[in-house]
Structure formats: C-alpha cells, structure tokens
C-alpha cells in the first residue's frame, strides 16, 4: 500500500473561502431586509428571513465539513486555534444576520423616518468592515500557495489593518444612532424603541465580529 496516500488530507483553505463567501451572502440580505422594512413589505421580510436561515445553515454545513476533515493529528501551515477562532467569528456573523432577520420577522415594526438614514448609514458602514474581511478571506487560498508570506501576505495584512478603523467608525455611528433613537421617546411606542435597539446591536455585533475574524486572520498569517 502506498503510505504517501495516508500522508495528505484535503487542504482546508478552499472550503474556508467558500465559507467566507457564504457568510457574506447572509450579510447581503440585511440591506434588502431594511428596504423591505421601510416599505413595510412584511411578506418580503418573511421570504428574506427564510433565505437567510437557509444560507446560514449552508454556511454551517461547510464549517462542520472543514472541522470534520481536519482531525487534530493533522498539522497545518497555520495555527489550529486561530483557524478555529476565525471560523467561529464568521459563523457568528452569519448567526447575527439571521437574528436580525428574525427581529424584523417577529413583529411588524415600523421604521421612523428620523432614524432611517442613520440606520442605512450604519448598515453601509458594517458592509465596509465585512466587505474588507471578505476581500482578505478569499485571498487565503493564494496565501497558502505563497506559504503565508511575502507580497501576498502584505497585501492581505494591509486589508486587515483597515478593519479596525472601519469598525470604530461603525461603533461611532451606532452610538449616534442610539442617541437619535432615544430622542424618539414618547413619539413612538417603547416596544418600537426596544426593537430599533435590538436591530442596531446586531448590526454593530456583525461589524465587531468581522474585526475579530480579521484579528484571527492576521494571527494565522504571522504565526
């Protein structure tokens, strides 16, 4: 029997790129959800929520496959803990996108015109963070080809470098949106305010996890 065949296991980096893309697909549902909320199209919200759930499940399947394919006896070019942490953060991002859809689904909340713009601005800022992360994450296969160093690594590291600042901007936006939301106290129902706050927290959390995922990615590269 050829022992060489027992030596190799499928490289995890191809599936990791797939996973990152799938997580991003979940996030991409957030903007249509917000728009549906503005137009008070609750049927569409229902549909979109189903879609997010499906995407989140698919991302989960990929993640489990990666984990299953890599028992601990395999040594990897990156630190195992960092890799797990990276996947964990991405999974949380997909989870929060799903939570966000559920928040919109469970109650027919109306979005007050005074907070609409900032909400959209926050979502866009969150996309800034998650988008940069995706750009960095899909490079991981090429990074593996270049054995995690040199020009390719510098390119990815510089992408991750920007994540922190973008996330800080998202935080600041979230705070100012929060203030605006509480200004509406008395004008709208308290339940509305609670739901706005829930939505805001989820979006902020996604940006936050994207930054954490970036940190893990950086640690994987510099090892």
């Amino acid at each position: 029997m050829a022992i060489i065949t027992n030596l190799f296991k499928k490289s995890p980096f191809g599936p990791i790129v797939e996973h990152a893309k799938k997580v991003h697909e979940c996030l991409e549902m957030i903007k249509p959800l917000m728009e549906a909320l503005v137009y008070e199209n609750y049927e569409l919200i229902h549909e979109l929520q189903d879609k997010v759930c499906k995407l989140e499940y698919e991302a989960d399947v990929i993640k489990h496959q990666i984990r299953e394919d890599l028992p601990r006896r395999f040594f990897l070019p990156v630190d195992r803990e960092e890799l797990d942490g990276f996947l964990e953060c991405q999974e949380k991002m997909a989870d929060y996108a799903q939570d966000f859809a559920v928040i919109l689904r469970i109650r027919q909340t109306r979005l007050h015109p005074h907070v609409q713009d900032k909400f959209f601005a926050l979502v866009d800022q969150m996309y800034q963070v998650s988008g940069s992360l995706l750009t960095a994450a899909v490079e991981i296969k090429n990074l593996a080809e270049a054995s995690f160093g040199g020009a390719e690594a510098r390119q990815v590291l510089s992408l991750i470098q920007g994540l922190g600042e973008e996330e800080w901007k998202a935080d600041r936006l979230a705070r100012s949106l929060s203030i605006d939301i509480y200004k509406l106290e008395g004008t709208i129902s308290t339940i509305d305010i609670i739901f706005y706050e829930k939505m805001l927290l989820k979006i902020g959390a996604i940006a936050n996890e994207a930054e954490n995922a970036g940190d893990f990615l950086r640690a994987m590269i510099v090892k």
Binding site: A2, S11, F74, L76, E139, G149, A151, E152
Partner: protein, 438 residues
C-alpha cells in the same frame, strides 16, 4: 538440483522485485501524479523506464552491501570444524532464508496495513541468519550501524533539504510582488541542481560496470560533465521559461502564481522520475542482493566474492520491478493520483529533489535506505515550511513503529527459516557446492 535452487531463489528474488514494483514505485511518482502534472498511464511508463535504468546503472553498490556487506562470507568460511563446502552451503541456506523471510514479512505487513520498508526487512533478515550461522562477529556491525543510522538520517536529511528548498522557492519566487518575473531568475538554478545531482549519481563510478573502457570517467571528469549538463539544462530552461512567462508579470498575483505552477509541471515530472530512478538504484538490491550471492556460490563453489554484481542479475531485478508496476502498480498509482491532489508542482519539485538527492547519495555510499520513508520525510519538511494544507502526523508514528518492529521481526523469522533449512537441506547443498567445485 543446483538448477532447482537457482530457479527457486531466482523466483523469490523476482517475486520481491515484483512486490517492490507493485507497491513502492507509486510512492516515488506520487508528486507528479498527485499534482496532476502527469497522467497515471504516462507515470507508469516513465516510472518503468526510470526504475529499470536506476536498477541497472546504479543498483550494484547497494546490492554489493546486501550480498557481502552485512554478513561477511569470510567469517563464515573461517568457522572451526567445518566440513568442506559447508560454509558455502550455509551461506546459500541463509540467503534463501533471508529472501523467503523478507517476502513473508512484506506480505504480512501489507496485510495488516503497516508501512514496512523492503529495505529494512531484507537487512534485518540477512543480519538475523548471520548471527545464528556464525555468531555475532560474522555480522559487520560497523556497516550495520551505518545502515541503521542512515534510516534515521535519510528522512531527516530529506526533510531538511526539502524545507530549505521549498523556503528558497517560496521566498525567491512565490512570495514576490511579481512571481512570474522572479521565476525567470530563480527556477534555472533549481533545474541546475536537479540535473547535476541526477547526472553525478548516475555517471560517478556508475557506468563502468555497464560499458567497459570508460576509464576516463573519473571522479573529476564526471563532476565536470555533471556541472556542464546542469548548466546547459539551466540555460535551456531559462529560455523556455522566459518565453512562457513573457508579459505574464502584469497579471494579478493569484494568476501569476498559477502560471508559475505551470512552469513547475515539467520540472516535477522530471524530478519524480529522478525519485523513481533513485528508488530503482537503491531498492533493486532488496530483491536481488541475496540471489546474487546464491547464484555466485552455486556457479563457483566458493564464498569469496570479488567480482561485482553480474549485469544479467541487475537486469532481472529491474525487469521484476517493471513487471510488478505493469501488472499491479498502476492501480496503486491511480489511488495515489486521486488521494494526494493537494500537492502542487512547486511543492513536488522541492520534495522530489530532496528525496532523490538523499537516496542517491546513500546509494553511492552503499547504504540501503528506504526511498518511501525519505520522501515522507521530505514532504513533512515542506509541511513544516508552511507549504502544505494538512499533513497527517500519525503516519510518522506508524513509520517509526514499523522501524522498531521490522528489523527484529525479520531477523527472528529468518533465523527460524535458516535453522529449518540447515536441518533439512545442509547435506544436499554441500554436495551441490562440491559438485560446482569439481
């Protein structure tokens, strides 16, 4: 009767060669087939050619070691109270026992799924009968310790060389802003190294037993020839690479890396062939070493072996390997091709050069090493250089366990075969030996 012994041991030797061809050759071509650089069919054909030439051109030194290096025939001849011809008869029985035992052990190990090396089996078996036939002193422990040390050293050296080579490829080419530009400068030296090592190992003292009258082919001349051939190939490769990568250095890095990997494709084919060549050179001895000893004694009736390994015996070993490859090895090759697709040509080249250089140097030093284990060491080295996705650590443990168990087990088995053989056939075989002298 003497014809019967020749045929019987010849068949076992041939069977061993068949086994090597069927099971081990696929490992040597693994990098080329796994990286999809070579189809299974072409890999079988190329491996056949390279194994055969390795066996015939470079196979004699290691065969010598198995034949006379481990158990010193003169020590057996010097035993007190021997009948006339008994020493030669003991050697025949012992070598037959060693061959039989190695064949059995190999079969058993394959059956339980242990990555056993044919080299380790045969060395253990030969040493085993030597101890019983003529005591501890008959085994050349100096040589034995060199051999055993080489089993530890060869995967380690293979690993370190592969680590260094891959680091070189990674830092000078793969990690550059413009990999396609860097490849033009840094792949030719790799070509030089590969061609130089293979050529030197082949022609340095290697061709004399094939072609007579090559006395001008001394160490220095063969060194010069190897350097020259390496330089020529490096220049040709430089021209070829420049042509293929022209204008590619403006592509995105990912695309450039793909193009560079394509440049490594012919190299990984050539370097895998060199592993097959080294494998033939080193492993043919396992099949024909004992047989060469037996055939000599039966022909001449003495244990003093001064001439080298006869060419027809090397050819027989090479042919056995090729037939094993053709009848069964292609299936193993196909499995290897589908199972190790994670390796890319650049990694394959680094692993192959490291493994073939290490094995060829050991062959030149008359040290029988395991080609497969050296290649595994080399691939591990690339894994440590962050070059591969997922490498199974437990394979190392298995290999290590098989080392510890193979030599004692083979020695023990060969002792039993030897004792049985001596009890049953000693008188008959002494007659044969005396007849050969008469």
């Amino acid at each position: 009767m003497d014809v019967f012994i020749i045929i019987f041991t010849g068949l076992i030797g041939f069977y061993m060669a068949w086994n090597i061809g069927a099971n081990d050759v696929a490992n040597s071509m693994a990098d080329a087939v796994g990286s999809q650089s070579l189809s299974v069919r072409n890999a079988v054909i190329l491996a056949g050619i390279c194994e055969f030439s390795g066996a015939v051109l470079v196979g004699s030194s290691v065969t010598e070691t198995i034949r006379t290096g481990i158990v010193n025939p003169n020590m057996i001849a010097a035993l007190p109270n021997l009948r006339e011809g008994e020493a030669a008869a003991l050697l025949i029985i012992g070598m037959t026992a060693a061959l039989l035992c190695a064949a059995f052990w190999l079969h058993f190990a394959t059956w339980v799924g242990m990555p056993v090396s044919t080299t380790h089996s045969i060395v253990g078996a030969v040493a085993g009968f030597g101890i019983v036939a003529a005591g501890w002193a008959s085994v050349n422990w100096n040589k034995m310790s060199q051999i055993v040390a080489s089993w530890f050293i060869s995967p380690l050296v293979g690993g370190m060389v592969a680590f260094a080579l891959f680091k070189f490829i990674a830092t000078t080419i793969l990690r550059k802003e413009k990999p396609a530009e860097a490849a033009k400068t840094y792949i030719p030296p790799i070509v030089f190294l590969l061609v130089f090592v293979v050529t030197l190992a082949t022609i340095y003292k290697g061709l004399n037993h094939i072609i007579d009258g090559l006395h001008w082919l001394t160490g220095t001349t063969s060194f010069i020839i190897s350097v020259a051939l390496g330089l020529i190939c490096a220049i040709v490769s430089k021209i070829w690479i420049s042509r293929h990568l022209r204008g590619k250095d403006t592509l995105p890095i990912a695309k450039q890396l793909e193009e560079v990997e394509k440049i490594f494709v012919p190299l990984v084919i050539f370097s895998s062939c060199s592993v097959a060549f080294a494998h033939g050179a080193n492993d043919v001895a396992n099949a024909i070493g004992p047989f060469a000893a037996i055939a000599y004694i039966i022909k001449h009736g003495t244990v003093e072996m001064k001439v080298g390994v006869p060419l027809p015996i090397l050819v027989m070993g090479g042919a056995g390997i090729v037939i094993g490859l053709a009848t069964f090895g292609h299936k193993v090759m196909a499995t290897v091709g589908t199972k190790i697709t994670e390796i890319t040509p650049s990694r394959g080249v680094a692993a192959d050069i490291a493994a073939s250089a290490t094995v060829l140097i050991c062959s030149r030093l008359s040290l029988p090493v395991s080609t497969t284990h050296t290649l595994v060491g080399a691939i591990m080295g690339i894994g440590l250089a962050r070059g591969l996705g997922g490498i199974n650590r437990s394979v190392t443990k298995k290999i290590f366990a098989s080392w510890l168990i193979t030599v004692p087990a083979a020695a023990f088995l060969s002792i039993i075969f030897f004792l049985i053989g001596r009890y049953l056939f000693l008188d008959n075989i002494i007659d044969i030996v005396l007849a050969a002298r008469g």
